[in-house]
Each structure stands twice: as structure tokens, then as C-alpha cells.
Symmetry: C2
Subunit: 198 residues, 2 copies
């Protein structure tokens, strides 16, 4: 019997399809220290996960709304004729929904680290389009990947407030989310750089 997660097309988390990340566990630890992501943050992330898990469709719709209304972002889902690739969008959407849950709930272990690198690669010349046999532009520039964290971090807050927690607790969940997202995007940037630059 398949779980929901197993049915997400191209979601290769923890599978043999995913190579080892070039980032070491020691480098990951140093990144967590750089971000000051601590055990308290991880606790609030888990709490955030419980609140966000039933809202992932609405959250992605907000993010996709920004992308759709921004031609220089929307183009990365379009084919050479400028036609939106609905199959590609739908598949990537399911993975992006699962990503929200994974940010909050997965242990940041080797499987997780490997999959972050895989996500990075899937934005670059090396692997973009391949998972979904799409024919959209072959590379999303690094600048958009970094810049879009502003949207991902800003727009999550109302969703964190949906379960009636105090402002103080919402604030702590949001802080933890923002740190975690920066960690993820930092790891994705590895796919864009050589080792001596990154």
C-alpha cells in the first residue's frame, strides 16, 4: 500500500535515486550555527508543521500567485511557445506542498541533506525539467531563488496564526520558519557554485 507521500511524482526523498550531497554534516552543523538555528527553533518548527500541514494547498497558491503575476518568474514553467506546462506545474506543486511539511517536521539528517541538494540541482542546468519531462527554460537564476525567500517568509505568517496561538508563540514559530527557510535556500545554492566559492 502506498502512502500519500509515495504517490507524489518525483518526490525522491530518501531514495536511491538521490545522490549524496557534496555538503558534509559538519558543514551543515556550521550553517545551523551561523543561522543560530537551535533546539528551541526546532521545537517551534514542529509546532508550525502541525498548523501548516492542512494549509499547504492555500500556501502554495499564494506563492504561485506571485509567480504567475511576475512574467520573469512565470516563464520558468512555460515551454518554448510561451505556453504554461500544466503537468509540470501540477507535479512540482505537490512536491512543494510536501516541502513545507518537510521543512517543519523532518530530521535534518543525511537523507534530508541529500534531498536539499537534489532540489537545488532541479533548479539548475543540471536537472531542471528532467524529473517532469518538461521543456521549460533549463535554469532558474540563483538570484530568483534567493530573492523569493522574502515571499516565502513574509507570506507564511497569517497561516501560522490560524490556530489561535498567542502573538508570542506565533512570533517564535515564524522566527524558526524564517531561519529554516534560509538554511534550505543556502543548501540549494550549493548546486550553483563550485566548492571553493560556496
Amino acid at each position: 500500500m502506498q502512502t500519500d507521500v509515495e504517490r507524489i511524482a518525483g518526490y525522491d526523498y530518501g531514495s536511491q535515486e538521490v545522490a549524496n550531497s557534496p555538503v558534509t554534516m559538519k558543514e551543515l552543523e556550521q550553517l545551523k550555527q551561523t543561522i543560530t538555528l537551535d533546539s528551541d527553533d526546532l521545537r517551534y518548527l514542529r509546532m508550525a508543521g502541525g498548523i501548516l500541514e492542512n494549509q499547504t494547498e492555500s500556501i502554495i497558491n499564494i506563492w504561485r500567485g506571485v509567480i504567475s503575476s511576475t512574467p520573469h518568474l512565470a516563464c520558468y514553467f512555460k515551454d518554448a511557445n510561451g505556453k504554461s506546462d500544466e503537468n509540470y506545474k501540477a507535479r512540482a506543486k505537490e512536491r512543494f506542498k510536501q516541502w513545507i511539511i518537510d521543512v517543519c517536521c523532518k530530521p535534518y539528517d543525511q537523507d534530508w541533506l541529500n534531498y536539499q541538494h537534489e532540489i537545488g540541482l532541479r533548479h539548475t542546468y543540471e536537472k531542471k525539467n528532467k524529473t517532469d519531462e518538461a521543456s521549460a527554460p533549463p535554469h532558474i537564476p540563483l538570484r530568483y531563488v534567493i530573492a523569493f525567500t522574502a515571499v516565502v517568509n513574509d507570506t507564511i505568517k497569517p497561516f501560522l496564526a490560524k490556530n489561535g496561538h498567542s502573538l508570542g508563540v506565533i512570533e517564535k514559530m515564524h522566527k524558526a520558519w524564517c531561519k529554516a527557510v534560509i538554511l534550505h535556500v543556502t543548501l540549494w545554492s550549493r548546486a550553483y557554485c563550485s566548492d571553493n566559492i560556496w
Copy 2:
């Protein structure tokens, strides 16, 4: 007569020493759209600038505290013998203080764009140490530059709250600050990448 700003060593904002950024004004506009940095944000940024301008020493001390207590970050201010370069640290600190004000108060025009690229270069093999004739490691890895935004964005909030504004206004200033910082770091990342990657 020199202004305070003119007395900041190595602060070459707007000077002929600073080359044109390879980033175009059109690319900048697209980045602002990607971040959803709008006129409302710019208004709250100006307000934030008025609150932060007399607190820059304390703010940098918080950030430097994180760096000093994190050996893999502190090393970028140390010479080959592991000795902290106090002259380098002091000069860079004054520029970093001014940066806080500039984030909030400067128009995001060509001079500003050029100087962001200069700041990026000063973190890389191309220009690190040169401005201050330091002999610290020649390159700060991109991952630490991206990751440290989490600290810069998280720790600013109490400083924004110092002038007794309502929670709603503090929130809007903080949102604007976070977006602006992501914009700056995105522009710095240009110095780490070739054009077809960035």
C-alpha cells in the same frame, strides 16, 4: 569640511573608485518584483532608518557577538597566526554601521547598485582584505553570506521596537527590513557567480 560619512575609511559609496555593477537597472526592478518590495515597504524602511540610525553600534555589536562566538565565522577577521585583526574589524564595523542606514534611507539607484556589487566583491577572492590591507582569509564562502541574513533579520526587531510604535507598525517595518536585506544579499551574490548562473 568632511561629513561623518566621508570619514568612514573605505566607504566608497558613489565614488569613482566603484565600478558599474554588472547588474542592470532592469534586473534590479525584476528583483524588487520578485521580493514584492513595494512603495509601502520603502516608506516603512525610511521610518525604520529613523529609529535605527542611533542604534547602529549596538546592532553591529549583536551581529559581531554571533560572529566572534562562531569560530568558522570569526576566522575571516583573523590573520594567518589566528590573531584577530583589530584594525580591519574596526574599519569594517564603521562601514557596516553605515550600511544599516543606507539599507533604510538610500534611493536604490545606480550609485547604490554599484556599491552593493562592490560590497559583494569585498567578500570574495577578488577584493577581500584589499580595502583595509588585511591578511585574513581571502574569501568568505557564499553560504555564510546567505545564511547570516537569518541573524540580521531576526535580531533587528527589538531595535525597531525601541521608539514605542504599535506592534502593527513594528511588524511592517520589520517586513520591509527583511525584504530589503534579502535584496542586498541577492545583489552581493552576483560577485560569486557568472552571469549565466546568477
